[in-house]
Symmetry: C2
Subunit: 337 residues, 2 copies
């Protein structure tokens, strides 16, 4: 049995999504149980209205939670028993094996960094985003690729980039079941001498590493998904990821306007049905799984703030799969510089 | 009369596109004439098959041209009379007032940098991309925004970013006819302290400048187009721009597959008509106008390699409009640090 500590309070859809996701998971066949952390009365009230297995889902008390607009450091200091901190301590103390949160990203990173230890050889943690691509990946034909860092580390040295590559490769190999994930550096050209100093040096380090390093890729390859893991510093990853969100929003806006302006367009959109879903999948990617925070000695999955029931349930399952796959051990084995 | 020197040999569509674009322009009402530079016999042969005004279009001889796969420096050294170099010298010597090329981007930048002078106060040139956005810009309701640098300068100091902002603002104000273009820095957060050291310092410099500086924008705002000019270093700009191209290609692939898989989807796409064109415009942006190379003492417009007749004609018109608007003088007036 693998136990996941879930911050029950976080996310734009709040307790409704976390409680429903945890309850749904508890009645599915499987070996995953959940500790739902937060305001006991409010969580229990919601839980009582749903079908769940009390043998695989319990509520753990916490006081307060970090709001989406809060300064994370100040909020965590003000509330020592905030739901994200209590959930992290359950993992640290061995009551759970992984942490899942749909709450404030900065607070999740901060509470994790303060509660868990950095793995030996890892100077900086990285937040990895799972995003949909045109290509399918691995034996499961996963329509997702991994990009890291997307915001935990603003600028990265060559050594940081190398360790991001090791961690991303280990995670991708477990979650997407790809024996040797193709790993690439994001740069402004495919030649080994293209990019910033840190990228050119990281190219050299990765060429000499046991990873399946395929070299540099350009921005074109991000949506195509010709590689399984794209490595970059957190500044670039943040801008790129938010741009993908922006493209997705513009796409929805334009489609909505088109369908409201003319009946013929609305009919056309309706006829597209499955064809349009394929496009939507490629742009409306925020509902999927979770983003792992890599480099600490525990498994941490950050579900997107807008996660709904299914996304929460998926994030818990991904966390359990990551624990079962021995992520931390693999990073330690492969990560020695 | 404004004369534009056009590299007649460059671009994926080669002489067919450049000759047809120049010929079409010469018979339009207006005060623009073209010097078409390249292989006289091959260009004249094509020209003879088209309607054109010999009073506004002449062919100038050059020997050789830089191929899309060539190393630009080696090619320009090997061919001192390559079409791009001859075209640049026509501008330097006053026979033309602007340079337009759809050929090798690196060769265009290199030939321009070697032939023209950098403006006083500008340490580095910047290549600016015009890209389509959801928002409309200025009194012309231009559906485009400007992003710079997109590849001329790999990493930029705060002072470089400031001068990119000055140059981008001057160009946008002339071409999109926006009296005070909204200028922003691309960063990983909107707060003034977000971003790399260079960005934080550039934020300070720009806040104190006479430009209409609106602060930092995140990746989300790139496709939305809530500002008129986005400033970043060439590494970030290159990755972001190529990713926009990638999104556009994936979009086309998926739409093509959808329409070939099912008759119903093909019909749905057909019914969408104009609604789809709007989406296509937002993703299939490579056919539009040209990218100015800014910071030199002459007007240089780089048309996209895939430019067709209409895009070449537009690039020539944009070049003439830029000369008429006094771009170089404006950058000199506004650019003093």
């Amino acid at each position: 049995m693998i136990t996941v500590a879930l911050d029950g309070m976080g996310g734009d859809n709040g307790m409704d999504a976390t409680v429903a996701g945890a309850a749904a998971l508890s009645v599915e066949p499987g070996d995953v149980s959940v500790l739902l952390v937060g305001d006991v009365r409010a969580l229990s009230e919601r839980l009582d209205r749903l079908r769940y297995d009390p043998g695989r889902l319990s509520v753990v008390a916490a006081e307060g939670c970090v709001g989406m607009g809060d300064d994370p450091r100040a909020a965590l200091e003000r509330m020592p028993h905030a739901s994200i901190s209590v959930a992290a301590r359950l993992v640290r103390d061995g009551d759970a094996q992984a942490l899942v949160s749909a709450g404030h990203t900065g607070a999740t990173i901060l509470a994790s960094s303060e509660t868990f230890r950095r793995l030996p050889g890892v100077r900086r943690a990285a937040l990895a985003a799972v995003y949909p691509t045109e290509h399918r990946h691995g034996p499961k034909k996963d329509p997702f690729a991994l990009m890291l860092d997307v915001g935990a580390t603003l600028d990265a040295t060559a050594e940081d980039l190398r360790s991001f590559a090791v961690m991303g490769s280990a995670y991708s190999s477990i979650v997407s079941e790809i024996p040797r994930p193709r790993v690439a550096l994001l740069s402004n050209g495919t030649e080994p001498n293209k990019g910033t100093k840190a990228i050119v040096e990281a190219h050299r380090l990765l060429t000499a590493s046991p990873l399946h390093f395929v070299g540099n890729v350009e921005g074109l390859e991000i949506p195509r998904g010709t590689v399984d893991v794209i490595v970059c510093d957190g500044f670039l990853g943040n801008v790129v990821l938010k741009m993908l969100e922006g493209v997705s929003e513009v796409f929805r806006d334009v489609a909505r306007q088109a369908s409201s302006r003319r009946l013929q367009w609305a009919l056309g959109l309706a006829m597209l049905g499955g064809g349009l879903r394929e496009l939507k999948r490629l742009t409306d990617w925020k509902m999927y799984g979770g983003a792992p925070l890599l480099g600490l000695d525990q498994v941490v999955i950050k579900a997107h703030g807008r996660s709904e029931t299914r996304a929460i349930r998926n994030a818990i399952k991904v966390a359990a799969k990551t624990v079962r796959g021995g992520l931390i051990q693999r990073i330690q084995q492969e990560g020695a510089p």
